[in-house]
């Protein structure tokens, strides 16, 4: 008889692990990926493929280089790749997409210590870097059944309300925009799945979107357009709920969502960019350590013993 194992409790753990969580996120992103192919054509799949491929490869390569344990099997690089692709216009040159993927994985994620350690969302940060570096291609929108060559937000900013797509088209995603952000229906399906699977809680997305709705109401904007345009749904459900770069506790998530919503409308209504979701999330990412400190839960000590 071999020796009995001796170890500290607990002797069982839940079936949840990092890979399973990332797999759930991938599953939740699939409806939007399918929608992007339907709306923008097969090139959408190519962009997603390049981003995912380069993300996974650069994670593998970097870890190999610095002799860290390989983590590509946790699937987090796949998630980053999909999210980055979702934030790019379908006509993006592939080498630029690849460049963005390397920035996301190597600079934003790995250099800060890998999964769980990065303070900013890799996909969002890479997108912002790309917007600065490749401002031309990053804002060339391909429009399904081309009606207009601008995104609804750009149209609204210019006051061209008559050329806006209908609410239904907006909901289904038939509008200009990044390839994974337009189909609100598909994104909501993914969000509901993540909440049911308890990968995310409702706090951040609901507060984020709710804040934008309330502010739109106050400032007399067209609420459905504000909610369904830009990357709001994608950002609120998939980016503002990233574990590493957002607060872990309930009230922290509420403050995070509120801040994102406020900064988004601030940029949308008064800023130079028509879209503010990415910046708002990045700014709140930076504030996350302070929010976490502010909302830290108090141990239940029941007062000191006299």
């Amino acid at each position: 008889m071999n020796k009995l194992i001796s170890s500290v409790s607990p002797h069982i753990t839940s079936s949840k692990n990092t890979t399973r969580i990332m797999l759930d996120v991938i599953i939740a992103l699939i409806p939007a990926a399918v929608a992007s192919v339907i709306i923008f054509g097969l090139r959408a799949l190519l962009v997603i493929g390049v981003c995912v491929g380069v993300c996974v490869f650069s994670e593998w390569g970097f870890e190999k280089l610095v002799k860290k344990e390989n983590t590509i099997t946790d699937l987090s690089a796949v998630v980053t790749g999909m999210l980055l692709a979702f934030n790019l216009p379908v006509g993006i040159p592939l080498w630029q997409a690849a460049f963005g993927s390397i920035v996301a994985i190597v600079v934003v994620k790995q250099l800060f210590g890998g999964i769980g350690q990065n303070f900013a969302n890799p996909a969002i940060t890479a997108r912002i870097v790309m917007m600065t570096a490749f401002s031309g291609t990053m804002t060339t929108w391909v429009i399904p059944d081309s009606v207009s060559s601008a995104t609804p937000l750009a149209l609204m900013a210019k006051g061209e309300m008559s050329s806006l797509p209908s609410y239904l088209d907006m909901f289904l995603g038939k509008r200009g925009g990044c390839l994974g952000e337009t189909c609100v229906l598909a994104l909501l399906l993914g969000g509901i799945y993540l909440i049911i699977r308890r990968v995310i809680t409702w706090h951040t997305p609901v507060v984020f979107i709710g804040t934008v709705a309330v502010m739109s109401l106050i400032f007399g904007k067209d609420i459905p357009y504000e909610l369904m345009s830009g990357g709001l749904t994608l950002g609120a459900i998939f980016m503002a709920t990233d574990y590493s770069s957002t607060p872990a506790e309930k009230w922290g998530k509420v403050i995070f969502g509120l801040g994102c919503g406020l900064i988004t409308v601030l940029i949308r209504f008064w800023g130079n960019f028509p879209e503010g979701v990415s910046f708002s999330i990045l700014i709140m990412n930076i504030l996350t350590p302070f929010i976490s400190k502010l909302t830290r839960q108090k141990p239940l000590t029941g007062g000191k013993k006299q």
Binding site: K3, L4, P10, H11, I12, T18, G116, Y243, K298
Partner: protein
């Protein structure tokens, strides 16, 4: 109105044996009875090699106040007295007794004379009863409180049994309900306490019903259904969910006017008052993936785990890990030669697959650990402070109140070993505080 809700987590129930009344298994050829099955100093051996002993004979006498007497669980001859290794790796003297198979009861076993508070406490002390928690806190000490009536409002009776697999308390509630209530009557009579709450997880409908049917006929007993969320049986969680009070840091339930006693311990005390037979046997749930026939058994204290499982039907697979108690808080059994202890309520044997430790990965900051801690600790921050050797932070993070329930490790997708770290962190904090105290002097 209570706004605060204690968190926890859902663990699989696996109460495979809840419907099985315990069976008495044949007496083993030898038993090994360690002299330390309670918190505090080991008992002093009162027999020597070659002595004849009978069931219930005193073989170990307490050497300090917080201690418990130890009795023989078989009749037969003392083979030897030798040190054995216990779960924490320490050595304690143990009495090996060869059984004659007759189970002749000692003449010393007769109902104790109990007339008042002091004689009641003395009887509970002589019964050898200890609490079920791993530490084995002597039961009498919980009641040996000066002015008990003014300090204690409620006796909380723990029938939660929140660990997976274990059903021995459930069986006590079903099979020995009358003794639980006799125990309540005895406490009422000799201590003057009037209010009792029995807390039971709501996945044990039969037990709740049975306890209710008795409670209806008894004054001052409330049956409290608890959510089937682990760890309802944790003392602090139980006190909060029955009384709405939080046991203060570094304190006892007594500080919020409560005494907590386990259902099985209570039923045992009632039986002892009737028969005078001290604690020499236990109802034990035997289960787990390496067990052929999961069941409840009644086994003598000191029977080796190997003999016990053999007598209960044997292994279905090579055991890789065997536990005293359940999988959430159980302690690993060092070897098949290790004995059944006073605190043993279950023996869970896991096969290779179930025993394999999960692979630990990097924290992904999901927050599950801190969002599931019943006491709202931050296990990640504790681990970090421990790694950085920062006892001041450990103090601020209140690691000392951690009850080692394991919820945090259970839910963590990265499988961080928090209970292990917290144990070490507690020790570090204790050492630090002791040093501070000394320096002050």
């Amino acid at each position: 109105m209570r706004f605060l809700k204690l968190r926890g987590t859902h663990v699989p129930h696996k109460k495979n044996t809840a419907g099985l009344s315990p069976v008495r298994i044949p007496t083993p050829e030898t038993v090994v009875i360690p002299m330390s099955m309670h918190i505090g100093r080991p008992a002093e051996v009162k027999v020597k090699k070659g002595d004849e002993v009978r069931v219930g004979d005193l073989i170990g006498a307490p050497t300090s106040y917080i201690s418990a007497p130890i009795h023989s669980s078989v009749s037969g001859k003392v083979l030897k007295i030798e040190d054995i290794t216990i779960s924490n790796g320490g050595l304690v003297p143990a009495v090996y007794i060869e059984s004659d198979g007759l189970q002749t009861v000692s003449d010393s076993v007769k109902p104790p004379t109990v007339t008042d508070f002091d004689s009641f406490i003395e009887a509970v002390k002589q019964s050898g009863a200890v609490g079920l928690g791993g530490a084995g806190f002597p039961t009498f000490a919980k009641f040996a409180v000066k002015d008990i009536i003014s300090r204690v409002n409620t006796v909380v009776i723990n029938g939660a049994e929140c660990e997976p697999y274990i059903t021995s308390d459930t069986r006590t509630m079903l099979d020995k309900a009358e003794y639980i209530f006799k125990g309540i009557e005895a406490i009422k009579k000799y201590t003057g306490l009037k209010s009792f709450i029995i807390g039971i997880e709501n996945n044990k409908k039969d037990a709740i019903e049975r306890m209710r049917s008795f409670a209806e006929k008894t004054d001052g007993v409330e049956i409290k259904e608890l959510p089937a969320v682990y760890p309802q049986g944790g003392e602090k969680v139980l006190v909060f969910n029955t009384l709405g009070k939080i046991v203060p840091q570094g304190g006892l339930p007594l500080d919020v006017g409560a005494v907590v006693i386990n259902v099985t311990t209570l039923a045992f005390i009632a039986e002892y008052l009737e028969t005078g037979m001290p604690l020499t046997e236990k109802c034990i749930t035997i289960d787990g993936s390496a067990i052929k026939e999961p069941k409840n058994v009644i086994a003598p204290i000191g029977m080796t785990i190997g003999d016990l499982i053999e007598a209960a039907g044997g292994f279905s697979a090579e055991p890789s890990k065997i536990l005293y108690g359940g999988p959430m808080m159980g302690i690993t059994v060092p070897s098949l030669e290790a004995p059944v202890l006073k605190m043993t309520n279950a023996i869970i044997a896991l096969d290779e697959k179930d025993a394999e430790p999960p692979k630990t990965t990097q924290c992904i900051n999901c927050g599950a650990c801190l969002n599931h801690c019943p006491l709202r600790l931050d296990p990640r921050a504790i681990s970090l402070a421990f790694k950085l050797d920062d006892p001041e932070s450990l103090k601020a993070l209140c690691v000392d109140i951690c009850m080692e329930c394991g919820c945090c490790s259970y839910v963590c997708p990265a499988k961080r070993p928090f209970v292990q770290t917290n144990k070490l962190a507690k020790a570090k904090l204790r050492a630090y505080l002791d040093k501070l105290k000394e320096e002050k002097k």
